[in-house]
């Protein structure tokens, strides 16, 4: 099952120098996160130690080692959003979705909250992205409305 996908990715990149990041990016695109079995599969065929893949995967913010929730809520914590109060909104969201301290995904696997450094839409700060839909000029009061839109 995963073999077919992996084969496609390998065909795309095996001739390229420095292909580890590209492979990981495609792997995440296909499987949703960095799977151990897939990493081992590539490691054997490319003769690159699995630790290399993990070294790279844990270095960059883009890669996830665990499956994520069905709905992804991204809160921007860039300078402009910070100044305009994104932190209280994130706290309110966590409360609303009952996501425990130290976790980023709700128990039922429905929601994942993550924060990013900047989505580059500072003029409509604070910005939240729910499943790729952008909510600009967010406020704490609009949190329930935003959640309603997903469920």
């Amino acid at each position: 099952m995963i073999e077919k996908k992996c084969r496609e990715i390998l065909d795309k990149y095996h001739r390229e120098k420095g292909n580890v990041i590209s492979i990981l990016q495609d792997m995440q695109e296909s499987f949703g996160y960095i799977r151990e079995d897939a990493v081992n599969w590539f490691s054997e065929r490319l003769n690159i130690p699995a630790s290399n893949f993990y070294g790279v995967a844990t270095f960059y913010a883009q890669f996830y080692l665990r499956p994520r929730g069905e709905n992804i809520i991204t809160g921007c914590c860039g300078t402009a959003c910070h100044v305009k109060g994104s932190a209280p909104i994130i706290n309110r969201l966590r409360e609303h979705l009952a996501i425990p301290e130290g976790e980023d995904t709700s128990r039922d696997g429905k929601f994942t909250i993550e924060s990013v450094a900047c989505v580059g839409a500072c003029s409509i700060a604070p910005v939240f992205i729910v499943n790729k839909k952008v909510f600009g000029k967010m406020t704490v009061d609009r949190v329930p409305e935003m959640i309603k839109e997903i469920s």
Partner: protein
């Protein structure tokens, strides 16, 4: 029945940047199509500003819609789907523009004070159509460059005085000369589009609005230094920009502007896109190179500089997006044209992302040397809330510092910014008012740089963490005597001993806020007060009996019933019930909540 012929030149342009989309521009487009179809009017409803905020930069008034008829343009602001029918009915069918919804003087003030070179075409031409770019003189600069000797090209760029727009401000011509001199056969040119500064989105807007200008710049640079391969290293968080670049590269290849024998000059040039994976450090040259090589983005010691030993060990020139997109017009209009704009040492224009607590947020392009005052009040329209006053402007993101309101007449150029302890950086400009706590701001930046520190060198890895601990305890009311001096000592040491630009500049936000707002730090530590009322543990709200005008706004705003107030009575806050949310403080129009 409307005669189709009379409307044949009707064009409706709708902003579909991230700002526009969030404000509902897709719905507006659908509504226009529906309304026009219902009246059997044929018009081209075009998506105007493709990309995100880039567009005309004036995203505070999104959704912006242009209605162009007989060559005359009318721009509507804050358009929502329910306004579309009236615009169609009165303006398009009957020919009477709906005056009350047209853009106001703000819009014109925002644009008239700017000098647009790079952003001129953004939002005007279709970024996915190479013929649109060629029609406005695109690729003429590259053609001209390729008709010259590479050294002549370097000479033009050097005399123009163009400096790198990525932050440090190194002379572009000089960098090229170093690389040009290397005798290695294989060389590379890299476009740095890893715009990681929180609060900056210039590069993305340029790429989304006018990707061919970046490609043309790379052809010029590649030819000048003798590189046949170009890489564009771009953040994966910018999917639209990546897609536009791919399209642009494909079209340029088809036209013979890229590939073998560019413009039949005998020069071969190929461009590949490398997607970054989300690491701020990869904006640093050597870390960026490591990342293209597929490794962890760790910086390498300099020297050797990338122009000597860069990508795969070969000489490599790295230029920022904005730098590259300046090149086509420098080549076509000449070095002296470019150097006539700006100040003695900083030439040309600079694009800034103007954000924060200011009325007109958006993307602006201004000549170097313009004063901060002009940017904030003439272009930016002043503070967002009239009852708040300007406190400081932050430039250079996490590597920069703040400029206090007292220095507002200062010219904005490389040297002036550095002299005040900040830097140009890539061009984020965040405006702060008196409700922004400077200690909290410093803590925010240190959290960011601490997280993004790659961990290779100790001063940066451990030093930023220690500084963050001190800042955190100050904002939580546990600050100690001597903390300020300790921060300054640590900061100075980290700057001197870190390996790369990240560590060397990470303490800047702290040092600069201590320099200008030491009293705020002291108020946190000695008096246990956060003057801006941001730091939650230090908040204590009381009503000043002197200033209170008994309006009751605080009473209505309070979510926990802590404000005691009756008509014609001064308000009082019950400390037991107060949850320190600050709603009363925000609501008070007289500043009487202390």
């Amino acid at each position: 029945m409307v005669n189709d012929n009379s409307l044949k030149d009707l064009v409706i342009r709708v902003c579909v940047g991230t700002g526009g989309l969030a404000a509902g521009s897709q719905e507006v487009i659908d509504e226009f199509n529906k309304a026009l179809a219902a009246r059997k009017v044929r018009a081209a409803v075009r998506k105007k500003c493709v990309g995100k905020t880039g567009c005309r930069g004036f995203c505070a008034k999104d959704v912006l819609v242009d209605v162009v008829r007989n060559g005359k343009t009318f721009t509507y602001q804050l358009v929502s789907p329910d306004k579309v029918n009236r615009i169609v009915e009165e303006h398009i069918i009957s020919g009477n523009p709906v005056d009350e919804w047209l853009v106001g003087p703000d819009y014109h003030a925002f644009h008239d004070r700017q000098t647009k070179i790079l952003l001129k075409q953004c939002g005007q031409i279709d970024p996915e159509d190479i013929t649109a770019y060629i029609a406005i003189g695109g690729y003429e600069g590259a053609k001209k460059a390729l008709s010259l000797d590479p050294f002549e090209v370097i000479d033009v760029v050097r005399t123009s005085g163009l400096r790198g727009r990525g932050g440090a401000g190194f002379l572009t011509g000089l960098k090229w000369e170093f690389c040009h001199k290397s005798r290695e056969k294989t060389k590379y040119i890299i476009c740095n589009a890893d715009e990681g500064d929180p609060g900056a989105f210039m590069d993305r807007s340029i790429i989304e609005g006018n990707p061919h200008s970046v490609i043309e710049g790379m052809i010029i640079g590649g030819y000048a230094v003798g590189a046949n391969y170009g890489y564009i290293y771009i953040r994966a968080e910018y999917p639209l920009a990546i897609q536009r670049l791919r399209t642009a590269i494909r079209e340029a290849e088809k036209k013979g502007f890229l590939g073998k024998n560019v413009f039949k000059s005998g020069f071969d040039f190929d461009i590949r896109i490398k997607e970054g994976a989300g690491a701020f450090i990869c904006g640093e040259e050597t870390a960026l190179i490591a990342s293209i090589e597929g490794e962890r983005g760790l910086p390498r010691p300099k020297p050797p500089f990338p122009v000597v030993r860069g990508l795969w060990g070969k000489p490599t020139v790295i230029n920022n997006v904005e730098t590259l997109s300046n090149l086509p017009s420098i080549l076509t209009k000449g070095a002296s044209w470019f150097s006539s704009i700006g100040t003695a040492k900083s030439k040309g224009t600079k694009v800034f992302a103007l954000t924060g607590k200011i009325k007109n947020t958006g993307l602006i392009e201004v000549p170097m040397g313009i004063s901060l005052k002009e940017i904030i009040y003439d272009i930016g329209g002043g503070m967002e809330k009239t009852n708040r006053r300007l406190k400081a402007v932050q430039t250079g993101g996490p590597s920069g510092g703040c400029i206090p309101a007292s220095h507002i007449d200062m010219p904005v150029d490389y040297e002036s910014l550095i002299s005040i302890g900040s830097m140009m950086g890539s061009g984020g400009m965040v405006v702060m008012d008196d409700t922004t706590c400077m200690v909290d701001m410093a803590r925010f930046f240190l959290t960011f740089t601490g997280n993004e520190s790659c961990g290779k060198c100790i001063p940066c890895r451990v030093g930023t963490k220690r500084m963050l601990e001190i800042l955190t305890r100050i904002t939580e009311g546990r600050g100690k005597e001597g903390d300020i001096d300790l921060l300054m000592e640590l900061g100075t040491d980290i700057k001197l001993s870190s390996l790369c630009g990240l560590g060397q500049s990470a303490p800047n936000p702290v040092l600069s806020t201590i320099n200008f707002f030491r009293d705020e730090y002291e108020a946190h530590i000695k008096d246990g007060i956060c003057p801006a009322r941001v730091c939650k543990s230090l908040r204590r709200y009381t009503v000043s009996a002197e200033l209170c005008r008994m309006c009751g706004k605080c009473f209505r705003a309070c979510p926990s019933g802590a404000v005691i107030w009756e008509k014609k009575q001064k308000a009082v806050i019950d400390k037991e019930k107060c949850i320190k949310c600050g709603a009363c403080y925000d609501a008070c129009p007289f500043g009487s909540i202390l």
